[in-house]
């Protein structure tokens, strides 16, 4: 049996979000081993579809390195024993979704037959393997251009091997175990809640009158910026409590006791469980809740994985497109502010986003969710301060956030809609398939979600952006030509001068690509994908290096061409749609359609 190791030494949320990857690998026929941070033992135990879990003693390895006069030998021995053991296990596939430099160095030592994700080459230089890994790093840098949920990225990162997803699809099991949250493609986020944990928590909720709704509340979060104020939580519960019979459970870590207590102080009926639950009990309790109202936190992912609906108040540096609860029907609220989301390590001085989501708004959403009513009208009422999304799966099985209020179409929204479709194919390595992406579907989706009231602005942007795309494409083609020549001559004698000249020209082109992307920011996702891919070029043989480089330039040129074509086609569909509407009733005027211009792009 093939053996796979998933390296996931990160936070609790990441661990839960890797569940679909683990299941995917299992379906690929791998025996799956998980390497995880020892602090999250209880979570690891709940993950289904793993054959073996190895806890990584992060603390005992790191402490000697940072304490004065810590014994380095202890850290060395611990790492040596662990990596020797993992090395001798002889993994066929190592999937690293930790994305830190230490995990790269770790993967070098594990040295599986194949490594996807960050690793080091034999000389100790950083190496990034896999298009989806490049995309993950790309998305970290260009967050505003990412429309993929982390669960999907993790899944794709490990499960797309040589552009082949057939095996997975063939093995989709439609047995009774499949959670309601599972999308039809078989990608699911699932945690096993043990019967024991369930038993232990039952007495906590047995007092609940039959009609009282069990509401989980998570007032904490990893940063202050992400924390909706405790008084808002309290206020929201009061409003909600006046409408429905509710029984709130307040969840939090030991360190968040004070924060949780300050919520509980205002709500006599609430049960403050901060610091009282381990992760297994937490999951059991959350599973019994009718709704979890939370900031962007680990418990939010637990809820998604045990099938409890989530109302996610996504603040600070949280970005719902990346980290929304995975599954159908969760509601996410985001502030409508230019500063949102802030940079992950930023310390905010004003916390305006905390005020953008009012207690009344959250209470109304919660009530609608609990009573199975639509949230759209509520979203529209508060649209001036906040955006509201509902989660669902798109036709390809990717999580998708649908806005509950039709905003005006922006250039970035249009680009992102196209990019998402393009990435779905090219990141899997299916370059031909991308030709079949339907502009009509994208246009229909755009018209469904956005208003075209200010389309003139988008069209003007698109005109400029197409030129920039062409420029990027010709740079890529030039680079492709140079790499091609390099490949041809590198075997011959006496070509050193020419080789170094070509190498220099190639470096100049890369610099131009980056410069162009900074000039035209919307090129950044394409350019970054290319530069990260170049980090993955490995080997000492010049011919192989040159042909890998040639391939990457070709991919960049292809991506530019496909995106350009889709932009034109989508525009065409939208324009046709707009022309069928009576324009005289709009003030946008003749700006919207210029038939002369259109003919040029037919």
């Amino acid at each position: 049996m093939k053996r796979a190791l998933v390296v996931n030494i990160a936070r609790m949320g990441d661990l839960i979000q890797s569940a679909s990857l683990l299941s995917g690998l299992k379906k690929h026929g791998y025996e799956v081993t998980l390497l995880f941070s020892a602090a999250f033992c209880k979570v690891a135990k709940m993950l289904p579809d793993i054959d073996r879990a190895i806890s990584f003693p992060l603390t005992s390895i790191v402490m000697p390195l940072i304490q004065p006069n810590g014994r380095l030998a202890d850290s060395y021995i611990a790492l040596k024993e662990l990596t020797d053991r993992l090395h001798s296990d002889g993994y066929d596939l190592v999937v690293n979704i930790t994305h830190t430099h230490f995990s790269a160095a770790l993967c070098r030592l594990i040295d599986g037959k194949r490594t996807i994700g960050m690793t080091l080459d034999k000389q100790g230089q950083k190496l990034v393997n896999g298009r989806w890994t490049n995309y993950y790093l790309n998305a970290n840098l260009n967050r505003h251009y990412n429309r993929f949920n982390l669960v999907d990225i993790h899944y794709k990162l490990g499960c797309i091997i040589d552009g082949d997803e057939k095996n997975v699809n063939a093995n989709v099991d439609d047995n009774a175990n499949v959670n309601a949250n599972d999308n039809y493609n078989g990608r699911a986020l699932r945690l096993k809640v043990s019967a024991e944990a369930f038993q232990k928590t039952k007495y906590l909720v047995r007092n609940v009158q039959s009609k009282a709704r069990l509401i989980g509340i998570v007032p904490g979060a990893s940063t202050v910026e992400k924390r909706w104020p405790a008084e808002n939580f309290a206020e929201m519960l009061k409003i909600l409590g006046a409408q429905l019979s509710i029984y709130p459970l307040i969840f939090g870590a030991e360190s968040e006791s004070e924060l949780c207590a300050s919520v509980a102080a205002h709500i006599p009926a609430a049960l403050n469980l901060a610091g009282k639950t381990d992760l297994a009990l937490l999951a059991a309790l959350i599973k019994q809740c009718d709704l979890l109202i939370t900031n962007d936190t680990g418990p939010m992912h637990i809820a998604a994985a045990v099938g409890t609906p989530v109302l996610d108040i996504s603040l600070g540096s949280a970005m719902a497109e990346e980290t929304a609860p995975y599954g159908v029907g969760h509601i996410i609220v985001e502030p409508r502010l230019d500063c949102f989301p802030c940079l992950p390590k930023m310390r905010c001085g004003h916390h305006s986003c905390h005020k953008s989501v009012s207690a009344q708004f959250a209470a109304e959403l919660a009530q609608a969710m609990l009573t199975n009513e639509f949230c759209d009208a509520i979203a529209a009422r508060y649209a001036i301060d906040a955006k509201t999304y509902r989660t669902a799966f798109d036709v390809d099985g990717f999580l998708k956030l649908t806005s509950l209020f039709r905003d005006e179409l922006t250039p970035r929204a249009m680009l992102n809609a196209i990019l998402k479709e393009v990435w779905k194919d090219v990141l899997d390595g299916r370059f031909e398939a991308v030709k079949d992406v339907s502009a009509g579907d994208i246009a229909a989706q755009i018209m469904n979600e956005y208003s075209l009231d200010n389309y003139g602005f988008v069209r003007d942007w698109m005109l400029n952006f197409r030129l920039a795309l062409d420029e990027l494409k010709s740079l890529a083609q030039e680079g492709q030509g140079i790499a091609g020549r390099l490949k041809m001559i590198c075997g011959r004698n006496g070509q050193i001068a020419q080789i170094s000249e070509l190498g220099k020209r190639s470096a100049d082109i890369d610099a131009d690509i980056i410069r162009l992307a900074y000039k035209e920011r919307d090129l950044m996702p394409l350019a970054t994908q290319f530069t990260y891919a170049k980090d993955g070029i490995d080997g000492a043989d010049l011919h192989s290096l040159a042909s890998q480089t040639e391939q990457l330039y070709a991919e960049l040129a292809w991506n530019c061409q496909v995106v350009g074509r889709l932009l034109s086609e989508v525009h065409h569909k939208l324009a046709v749609q707009l022309s069928s509407i009576d324009l005289t009733s709009r003030d946008a005027g003749p700006n919207i359609i210029n038939p002369l211009w259109l003919s040029a792009y037919k």
Binding site: I61, V62, L65, I66, Q67, P68, N69, R71, L72, A73, S75, Y76, I77, L79, K80, T83, T100, H101, F102, A104, A105, L106, R108, L109, L120, K122, Q123, G124
Partner: protein, 583 residues
């Protein structure tokens, strides 16, 4: 640094091989330089043990180096004072470069010693083979190298991490600095906390705060800061030994912390024990106590509970107090028949007022109300810098050295120890008349290496006598300097101190540090890859993940070994934790 040779000629000797002449001095035989070199090498190596390190003094055209290399199996270094000679030799003799020989040309003495000591391991001592004509051209340079290497191998103690903390002002400040410099030249890794940086703050506090109580309060805090720095550095850098002198900034708390950490502390009490009695409280707080007085004081220390005490007389730093050639202008400015540099203590005022009528210059501070001495006082009684002091010692015909006393009107009849000035004047090659001291005869041959007076009458007589006999002055001064170089340098004192300390200490403290090279090798066993990696850190003494990773990544050739990979991994964890602020 060195006067370069004026003219280098290279031409064939009778035998046909090349020979060399510098400004008229032949460096090799005119007949057969190769045979000459073989003869010298054979004679010089006669009693040299097989594996002993040999230092060849003088490169010339490399014949001696070649001859020694052919005969000797131990490690070799070749020192050439004149960089131009080495360049000429290399261009004339293409065969000269041996990879396994350490060539050092035109480098400062201290650097040569450091390089040799770090490259050529020594068990017993270094052996020297001299190319006599080369040595003759730069005698001081080569003899200094021999002296320092001899001191270094005498100490025969592994390279230590030593922390020296100085006072922030006063007479013991330069002494602490000299100790630090000497320890460095002896090949140790020295961290000097020069607390002179606190002096401006100290003066500000002294002038601003009127209450003595308040001044003390603030100054105590200052002392605590400096003392804490010592303790924390000792922990962070795996210090083997903390060396302090009188008035160094330290607190009892810091000393007990160091003792708890197992870092030995040594204290050189360069003050008079009957006058400054604070040693009583501090005697047992230090592990090792060095004194400039012996006998009664040592028993008093033992009584107080410190038996690890040793008499260690003062000394001179020949790199600071050295012969100088002064310009004509400087000779006028600093020169006189008789000179004295020092503070205006009672006995000096009394004795020197009897020197009316001589060409006398009185330098130094605290001469307020000098009265009859006023006309002799230079620069209104300003403090004189060390650099100027050296010039004055060099150029005065007679340097007076009267040990201070506030309780006598002349020579202190009970005076025993020698002040730094005694050694410093001698090290400069200056001539001095010093008052008779009990220990003087132990340190110098009276009348041959130093001149002495017992009272003011004798002082005046001797001044007249030595002014009339310049050749005797010169002979005594020269002999005095030789004695200092041979026996009274700070290198010698530090060697003695370290020998004393390490007759008690079982191993340097850093070896007990878990992250020392040996400490780690002990735990991590005999993996050859790892051993090589850790051995590469030996010079630093202690292994840091940061440094080892830097080296691994800068090497950039070949594949990573597993040991290297693990260290890179540890470094990434370290950086990650730092980034997360986990420390």
């Amino acid at each position: 640094m060195l006067k370069k040779a004026n003219k280098i000629e290279i031409f064939p000797a009778r035998s046909g091989t090349l020979t060399m002449r510098i400004s008229g001095n032949m460096l090799h035989s005119l007949y057969d330089p190769v045979k000459e070199a073989q003869t010298i090498a054979k004679a010089a190596l006669a009693d040299v043990p097989e594996e002993a390190p040999v230092v060849i003094l003088g490169l010339g055209l490399g014949y001696l180096a070649q001859a020694v290399k052919a005969l000797h199996r131990g490690s070799l270094a070749v020192v050439e004072a004149d960089d131009a000679v080495a360049r000429a030799a290399l261009s004339a003799q293409p065969w000269l470069e041996h990879n396994d020989v350490l060539y050092l040309a035109g480098q400062p003495v201290a650097k040569v010693v450091e390089n040799i000591f770090n490259t050529l391991p020594v068990k017993g001592r270094y052996y020297f083979v001299r190319n006599a004509p080369s040595v003759k051209l730069h005698p001081d340079y080569y003899s200094e190298i021999e002296r320092l290497l001899a001191e270094r191998s005498r100490a025969n103690i592994e390279r230590l991490n030593i922390l020296v903390s100085t006072p922030f002002y006063g007479g013991s400040l330069p002494i602490a600095r000299y100790c630090a410099a000497a320890l460095t030249r002896l090949g140790h890794n020295v961290i000097t906390l020069d607390n002179a940086v606190f002096e401006p703050l100290h003066s500000r506090i002294e002038s601003n705060l009127r209450s003595r109580h308040y001044r003390h309060k603030v100054l105590n805090q200052l002392t605590s800061v400096a003392a804490d720095e010592i303790v924390l550095l000792a922990e962070e850098r795996a210090i083997d030994l903390v060396f302090l002198v009188a008035q160094s900034l330290i607190t009892p708390e810091a000393l007990s912390a160091l003792r708890q950490m197992g870092v030995p502390t040594a204290f050189w009490f360069v003050e008079e024990w009957q006058l400054f009695t604070y040693w009583q409280e501090w005697a047992t707080r230090y592990d090792y106590f060095f004194t400039i007085q012996k006998g009664e004081f040592l028993s008093a220390l033992a009584q107080r509970g410190n038996k690890k005490a040793k008499y260690l007389p003062l000394a001179a730093d020949p790199f600071v107090h050295r012969p100088l050639e002064l310009s004509a202008l400087e000779s006028v400015a600093y020169g006189s028949d008789i000179s004295h540099i020092g503070a205006g203590y009672r006995n000096r005022r009394v004795v020197f007022s009897g020197l009316q009528g001589f060409d006398f210059k009185l330098w130094g501070n605290d001469w307020n109300g000098a009265g009859a001495l006023e006309p002799f006082l230079q620069r209104n009684g300003e403090r004189i810098s060390t650099e100027e002091t050296v010039k004055i010692f060099n150029v005065a015909k007679i340097n007076l050295n009267l040990h201070s006393s506030s309780y006598h009107d002349g020579v202190n009849p009970d005076g025993d120890y020698l002040n730094p000035r005694t050694y410093e004047i001698a090290a400069c090659g200056g001539f001095q008349l010093v008052d008779r001291r009990e220990y003087l005869a132990d340190q110098f041959q009276i009348g041959k290496e130093i001149a002495v007076f017992d009272n003011i009458t004798e002082l005046k007589d001797k001044i007249r006598y030595y002014l009339d006999h310049p050749e005797e002055r010169l002979a005594i001064a020269r002999a005095g300097r030789q004695r200092v170089l041979a026996e009274h340098t700070y290198e010698r004192r530090m060697t003695e101190a370290l020998q004393f300390i390490y007759s008690y200490e079982t191993a340097p403290a850093s070896r007990r540090n878990p992250n020392s090279v040996d400490g780690m090798l002990n735990v991590l066993g005999d993996e050859p890859e790892l051993r090589a990696l850790l051995e590469s850190q030996r010079a630093a003494g202690i292994v840091t993940v940061e440094e080892i990773s830097r080296q691994i990544l800068s090497r950039r050739t070949g594949d990573l070994t597993r040991a290297e990979g693990i260290f890179l991994l540890m470094n990434e964890f370290r950086l990650w934790a730092q980034d997360k602020d986990l420390a």
